[in-house]
């Protein structure tokens, strides 16, 4: 029993250190703007509840529960929202035009999502991609909705 508790504490410490080091990696990709019901951010394998104002980073996962909705705005003005029972990964977000670093890859794993493109599409259209389990979408602008129906 005591050993189990120690393992849990050690696990929490490790994940705390992990997420802290992940958070210190670069600038946020954007911020959570809208949350309804159950919604969470997955970072470094750890799931945490999402709140308006929370920072989003490259490689984060976003999830909603049965009555959840989530809306985020990225630094290049891209807007992404999720309906209930939905899951997406922000696989890539690079927005440093001065350094020639531009890229946005989003994976819609299940559920419904809306996507409104931002500056990255305007500056380098072929650097923006939405993927689902069966589909690759090359986005040339602007306003798209996606359903990924996987039981």
């Amino acid at each position: 029993m005591q050993m189990a508790a120690e393992i849990v504490v050690a696990g929490m410490l490790v994940s705390g250190v992990l997420s802290a080091s992940l958070e210190s990696q670069g600038q946020p990709a954007g911020y959570v703007k809208i949350v309804t019901g159950t919604a969470s951010i997955t970072r470094g394998g750890v799931d945490r509840p999402a709140h308006p104002g929370d920072a989003i980073y490259q490689s984060d996962g976003l999830r909603t529960g049965a009555y959840g909705r989530l809306g985020v705005t990225l630094k290049d003005d891209t807007r992404i929202s999720l309906g209930p029972n939905s899951q997406i990964d922000l696989s890539e977000f690079k927005f440093s035009p001065a350094e020639g670093q531009l890229g946005l890859v989003m994976k819609v794993l299940r559920g419904v999502a809306a996507f409104v493109s931002g500056r990255i599409v305007a500056l380098r259209p072929d650097a923006v991609r939405i993927e689902t389990p069966a589909t690759i979408v090359g986005v040339r602008g602007t306003y798209l909705v996606i359903q990924a129906e996987y039981p």
Binding site: R69, S81, A134, V137, T142, L144, V145, P151
Partner: protein, 210 residues
């Protein structure tokens, strides 16, 4: 009552769903994706998307409410058109959570000085009001130059301008924790020009409120 409402809805949906498109929701639907292009309500524009199946084949969406359906292992369906009701039915929940559109304010300096033009000076107060009216705001102050001079130097120059504007906004009462400063140097022109071209509209600081 609930069942009646559900049945009525199913009838409406089936009726709206003309015979050439049957996106009927079965108890255990075939795994699939649906991608639809909508008109941007802000700009009234319809963009473009190229939809490819991971197993080959692709279609292009170019009209409002044009959509395609992809079943794993098959090429995308020929594009078809959704009604407004069908879009609401399938995507309403996601669309309801879309954050408000960002707004951009462009600030200009008097030729070669650190003084804002009178029109830009007025925008400082307007920006503060706009930020205050947003529920969950974040602000980026982006410096931009024209293509005169070396790209490296322009990154530094644009950062100096952006930092000046950030300081002005914070002095006027903007919460500094909401603001970040970035420089796009000469890599994000408002007016496209060749290299080494002076252009007063490109020398600007852009305040983006999201």
């Amino acid at each position: 009552m609930m069942r009646l409402a559900g049945a009525a809805l199913a009838v409406v949906f089936a009726a709206a769903c003309q015979c050439h498109v049957r996106i009927v929701q079965h108890a255990t639907p075939t795994p699939h994706d649906i991608i639809a292009l909508l008109k941007d309500p802000e700009t009234e524009k319809v963009g473009r998307a190229v939809v490819s199946s991971t197993s080959g084949g692709s279609v292009e969406l170019t009209h409002k409410r044009q959509a395609t359906r992809i079943v794993v292992g098959q090429p995308p369906w020929a594009p078809f058109r959704f009604s407004r009701d069908q879009i609401d039915q399938l995507f309403g929940e996601a669309l309801a959570a879309l954050p408000p559109a960002p707004r951009h304010f462009l600030l200009y300096f008097e030729g070669g000085s650190n003084q804002l033009t009178p029109a830009s000076e007025k925008l400082i107060a307007e920006i503060l009001v706009f930020v205050r009216n947003r529920l969950v705001p974040d602000v980026t102050v982006v410096g931009h130059t024209d293509t005169t001079g070396a790209a490296r130097d322009n990154i530094e120059l644009a950062r100096t301008w952006a930092t000046m504007i950030r300081d002005r906004l914070v002095a006027a009462g903007l919460d500094s924790s909401l603001v970040s400063v970035v420089s796009h140097g000469e890599a994000d022109l408002l007016v496209p020009t060749p290299d080494d071209t002076p252009n007063s509209r490109n020398r600007r600081v852009e305040v983006s409120v999201r």
